[in-house]
Structures are given as structure tokens and as C-alpha cells.
């Protein structure tokens, strides 16, 4: 550890002055407008994957600019046109553009595109998925694009077309993919929480979707190595090594240090424990990173899953990360008997894991599950108690009120993290 860097990063934060202190000096928080020294210190202290480092560094360099102003629809469409002109030689037509709801972290615009490409005529409903100036999770559109490409043909995902990695054409970085049809929850059931959390599919639909849910997860986790090797924005993961997992821990520990409004010893305890106990990979999987109800669409008539969405947190790593995530308390609910917990509102945990082992041919290791329960709660605590509060205070997103609302998940997750750490430490 670079102790000097650590001290400089930690000791500069004091949002309120103590009695008798100079108020101007005390209220300087380097995170509000990070300078190069601050950024360099964090990059040295928390090494992570190159593309993630690029995204996080860009985030910090942008912070401190004037308050967010949501672009008009016309401005966004003009950006789409610039991107398409860059990629297409022939004429194209954009129609029916409109804002699309759903998702707490990205701006989405639906539109119809007619275009010619090498003599072939295309006509598609498409979606622009674009970053706001600040997000509850700062991620790479290039990585998301590559993850979607890797999963294509293996599980249903929207077909990807173009990506603007650094916002050279669009107002902000974004990607364009096909608009998938379907719903995230039964249209005739009452609304649950925001972002699909705690969705109740009903007792008849659960097993139908649950079987597909498990089968798709197994397919994602067993994507062939040669396909994973095409994912150039990912640094790769090595069988028998825990280096990739430690990089992931560094990723979120760095984000905590970048975003937090106040210190929290719990986060440091978790990060240290995770680094010291990181398991070596026994299989390199494509990990979705946010695999749960709310992130897939299904057709209500055929009851078939039509698309897996939100791949922005995908990594090459350990399957237990997804398994611990989707069996987490906040994404499920109890069945009508009041006693059976349904993971992601779909299947009892034991049945889900048993089906997963059969479908994937990969074992479920309880010790790894526990490790990734700590990891996931650690990362979620960073998102909710660190980043969500930071970006909402900045006014940096397209839906600050939702982000601030989601931040209230944080204390429950942090309490779960504390309890699990008490068991393992």
C-alpha cells in the first residue's frame, strides 16, 4: 500500500468544520472536483482493469463541471445521426424517436431506423442506451457491447449495432441495439418496487420462467473460452488465479474512495477481508453481474424470455458472483406459504442451485457463495451509500429522485454485509 497516497485521499475530506477550524479549508472535499494528484493516487492504490480505469478516470475528470442539463430529444437524435453518418455510407431515416423508461442508471431513447448497407435494406426498431453525465454505476459501453456480442446466439439478447465509446458523436457514450419486445413483470399484477426489485410473477408463471432463468444462466457461465477471448475490453481471467477477483475488489474500493460523502469502516473491513480471502478461479465464466428479475424481458403470451438486458456490470470471473446475487434477499420474496423464499421471485434457492448444477455441469461451492455474498454486498454498499448519494447530490443523472430513493436500499445491504462479515472474520 502507498501509505502517503492513502492519507492524502482520506484526510482531505471534511465536509463540515469542527469548532474553531477554518471553514474554507475544512469544507474542501477533493472528491467534488478531483485534481490530477488525487486521481493518480487512487489509480496507483487500486489497480483495476484498463477499460475500467479509463472509465473511472474519465468520470473524475468530468466531475466538477456545471450542473447536469438533460439534453432535448432533438439533441440526442442529432447525436444518433452523427454516429450513423460515421458508420453508414448510404442514406438512413430516423422516425418515432421517444424517451424510454426503465433502468436507473442509463438514458434510453427508442426510435425506428430505415437504412441501406451494402445494397441491403434494413428496417428496425432500435434503442439508444446512453450514459448520463453521472451514474449510479459508472461503466463502459464498450464492455457492455462486447458482453452482448459474446452472449448473442447463446441466450436471447438484443442485437447490437453501433457503439460510441467516448461520446464522440452522441452527447455521452452510448450504444445502439435492437429494441426487444416483452415485459419485465406481469402487466396485470400490481406494481412492486422500482427497478424490478421484489417482482412477484405469480405462482403459475414462476416455474415456467424459473426454468428458463436457470438454463440461460448456465449457458452464459459456460460460454466457450475462444468466444470470451474476443472480449478485448476485458483484461481476462486466469484459471487457478485470484488476480481477477482482487481487481474487482479494487474496482469498487476505488469507487468508494472516489464517491463517498463520508467514511465507513465497514467498507474497509470488507475490502480487506475480500482481498485476503479471494478464491482462485476454478472456471472462467462470463458473469452477467446483475442477473435477476427486472433485467429480463418475457413475452406474456408465450411465457418465453425474449431478452437479457443490462450487461454493464459483466466481468470474466467466478459464476458464484451471479449465483450469490440472484439469491440475495432484496431481489426475492416469500411464496404464498410465507415460509419459502423465492430467489429472484422465481424458484426456491435449493431447487434453483440444483437445477443450475445440472444445466451447467458446474458445482456450486457454498464457501464461494458466501465469499461472493460478501463481495456483492460490499459492491452494493459502495453503489448505494457511496455513488448514489454522490451523483444525486451532484444533480448528475436523469432521475436523481429515483437514485436517491434507491440509496435507501443501502442500510439494509450494509447490515447484511456486517452480519456476514461477523460470521467469517
Amino acid at each position: 500500500m502507498h501509505k502517503t497516497d492513502h492519507l492524502s485521499a482520506n484526510s482531505q475530506l471534511r465536509t463540515l468544520p469542527l469548532d474553531g477550524e477554518d471553514k474554507t479549508a475544512a469544507m474542501v472535499d477533493p472528491r467534488n472536483a478531483p485534481d490530477q494528484h488525487f486521481i493518480d493516487a487512487l489509480r496507483r492504490r487500486f489497480p483495476c482493469e484498463a477499460e475500467i480505469d479509463r472509465v473511472l478516470t474519465a468520470k473524475l475528470k468530468q466531475r466538477g463541471r456545471p450542473d447536469y442539463r438533460r439534453e432535448s430529444l432533438d439533441e440526442v437524435v442529432a447525436g444518433i445521426e452523427r454516429l450513423l453518418h460515421h458508420h453508414l455510407d448510404d442514406e438512413f431515416t430516423i422516425t418515432n424517436a421517444g424517451w424510454l423508461g426503465g433502468g436507473a442508471s442509463k438514458i434510453q431513447v427508442a426510435f425506428h431506423l430505415d437504412w441501406q448497407d451494402q445494397g441491403t435494406t434494413h428496417s428496425r426498431d432500435l434503442v439508444l442506451r446512453m450514459e448520463p453525465p453521472a451514474s449510479i454505476v459508472e461503466t463502459s459501453r464498450t464492455r457492455e457491447f462486447e458482453a452482448l456480442k459474446a452472449a448473442a446466439g447463446i441466450v436471447p439478447v438484443p442485437e447490437c449495432y453501433w457503439v460510441d465509446t467516448e461520446g464522440a458523436f452522441l452527447p455521452h457514450p452510448g450504444l445502439i441495439y435492437a429494441r426487444a419486445t416483452g415485459v419485465t413483470r406481469p402487466s396485470k399484477r400490481p406494481l412492486g418496487q422500482v427497478s424490478g426489485i421484489g417482482t412477484n410473477f405469480g405462482s403459475e408463471l414462476r416455474p415456467v420462467l424459473g426454468r428458463q432463468f436457470v438454463r440461460h444462466l448456465a449457458a452464459i457461465h459456460t460460454v466457450a473460452p475462444e468466444r470470451l477471448a474476443q472480449m478485448k475490453a476485458f483484461d481476462g481471467a486466469t484459471l487457478g488465479s485470484n488476480a481477477s477477483i482482487i481487481r474487482q475488489v479494487n474496482w469498487w474500493r476505488r469507487v468508494w474512495e472516489e464517491d463517498r460523502l463520508e467514511a465507513q469502516p465497514l467498507v474497509e473491513i470488507a475490502a480487506r477481508w475480500l482481498r485476503e480471502n479471494a478464491p482462485a478461479l476454478d472456471h472462467v465464466s462470463l458473469v452477467h453481474g446483475d442477473y435477476r428479475a427486472g433485467n429480463f424481458l418475457y413475452d406474456e403470451e408465450s411465457e418465453q424470455i425474449t431478452a437479457w438486458l443490462d450487461w454493464e456490470l459483466a466481468v470474466l470471473g467466478d459464476r458464484h458472483q451471479d449465483l450469490a446475487w440472484l439469491t440475495g434477499a432484496h431481489f426475492g420474496h416469500y411464496a404464498e406459504d410465507g415460509a419459502t423464499f423465492l430467489a429472484s421471485g422465481l424458484l426456491p434457492v435449493s431447487e434453483l442451485l440444483e437445477r443450475y448444477e445440472q444445466a451447467s455441469g458446474l458445482a456450486v461451492d457454498p464457501a464461494r457463495l458466501r465469499y461472493f455474498r460478501v463481495y456483492n454486498d460490499f459492491a452494493s454498499t459502495v453503489h448505494m451509500l457511496g455513488t448514489a448519494c454522490r451523483v444525486a447530490r451532484q444533480g448528475g443523472t436523469h432521475q436523481d429522485v429515483l437514485v436517491a430513493w434507491l440509496a435507501m436500499i443501502g442500510p439494509g445491504i450494509a447490515a447484511g454485509l456486517r452480519a456476514t462479515l461477523e460470521e467469517v472474520l
Binding site: Q193, W273, L402, G410
Partner: protein
């Protein structure tokens, strides 16, 4: 008199609920969701507003209890001890304002997080366990404070927030969370 905060909040909530929300185009899902969240947030603020001073006092008290559990008197803990002495003076002064209590609490948290980061490996587990045990009252308080958001059903099993704010950390009892 001038309209007090309670009055201003209640009329704002009424206007949003009775006039603004019904006027939103139902097809605009984002606007509808944000309007509902704005209303719910204002309702929560209205309920919590009278409790702010007690919250600041209790949170500072909880942070002091955490610091007590970590400060073993060794040289490395000197910075924490200094922050703790300052925070204790703020906590003991009945004239302390919310900003002063908050500043003292933040300073304590900074020193505790730094201590955890820097503690040698052979002391990490013991110090970590002490810290984890001592932070439960604060996490329970935070869970109860945001329980009405509905994300944490177990939080409703905790004592009422008014009761938690009048308890000292040593007397507070936690409620397990579902995992």
C-alpha cells in the same frame, strides 16, 4: 407569522398529489414514476424533520461508541483518540448545533476507516470484529430511518425511530437482516 416548514411541506405535497400528478400524461412513465417518488420523499422528509436534532445526537453517540471499541491506546490510534476527544466535547456540550455534531461524526469515521486500513495484518481480525460489533446500533438506526421506503421488510421489526433516538448505543438491540 410566516408559514412554518411543516405548513410549506404539507401544501406542497397536497399540490403535487391533487393537481400536478393527475395532470401528467399517463403515457409518460418516467414523469409518473418521478412524481410518485417525489411525493413519497416529501412525506418521509415531513415525518423526519422534527427528529433531525435527535438524529444528529444519536449518530454522534453511536460513532463515539464505535471509536471507544477501537481505541486501544496504542500509538497508531492517537489520531483516533484526538478525534474522539474533540467529538466527545461536542457531544457533551448542550449548545452544540447539528453541523458541529455532524462534523465531529465525520471526523471520527475518517479516523476509524483509516485505522482499519492501516492496522497490521495480525491485528486486523480482532479490530475488525470489535468494529463490526460496535456498528450495529448505527446500522439499525439507519435501517429504521429509511424503513418506509419498503426495501428492508425486517427493519419494521426494529423499535420505533423515536424510541431508537432516545436510546444509548449500549442499550440498543439489533434485529437480524434476511440474507
Amino acid at each position: 407569522m410566516i408559514p412554518d416548514l411543516e405548513l410549506q411541506l404539507s401544501v406542497t405535497i397536497k399540490a403535487l398529489r391533487d393537481v400536478v400528478l393527475p395532470a401528467i400524461d399517463p403515457a409518460d412513465g418516467v414523469a409518473t414514476e418521478q412524481a410518485h417518488l417525489a411525493l413519497a420523499t416529501l412525506g418521509m422528509v415531513r415525518a423526519h424533520l422534527p427528529l433531525r436534532q435527535k438524529l444528529a445526537q444519536t449518530e454522534l453517540s453511536n460513532a463515539l461508541a464505535m471509536a471507544d471499541s477501537l481505541d486501544t491506546g496504542a500509538t497508531a490510534e492517537t489520531a483516533l483518540a484526538t478525534a474522539r476527544n474533540k467529538a466527545k466535547a461536542v457531544a457533551d456540550n448542550p449548545a452544540s448545533c447539528q453541523d458541529e455534531m455532524e462534523a465531529a461524526r465525520l471526523s471520527l469515521l475518517e479516523e476509524m476507516e483509516r485505522l482499519i486500513a492501516d492496522v497490521p495484518a495480525d491485528r486486523f481480525a480482532a479490530l475488525g470484529r470489535s468494529c463490526l460489533a460496535s456498528m450495529q446500533p448505527q446500522l439499525d438506526l439507519q435501517r429504521r430511518w429509511v424503513a418506509d421506503a419498503g426495501f428492508d421488510p425486517d427493519a419494521t421489526g426494529l423499535p420505533a425511530i423515536e424510541k431508537m433516538l432516545s436510546q444509548s448505543p449500549a442499550n440498543a438491540k439489533g434485529t437480524p437482516v434476511s440474507r
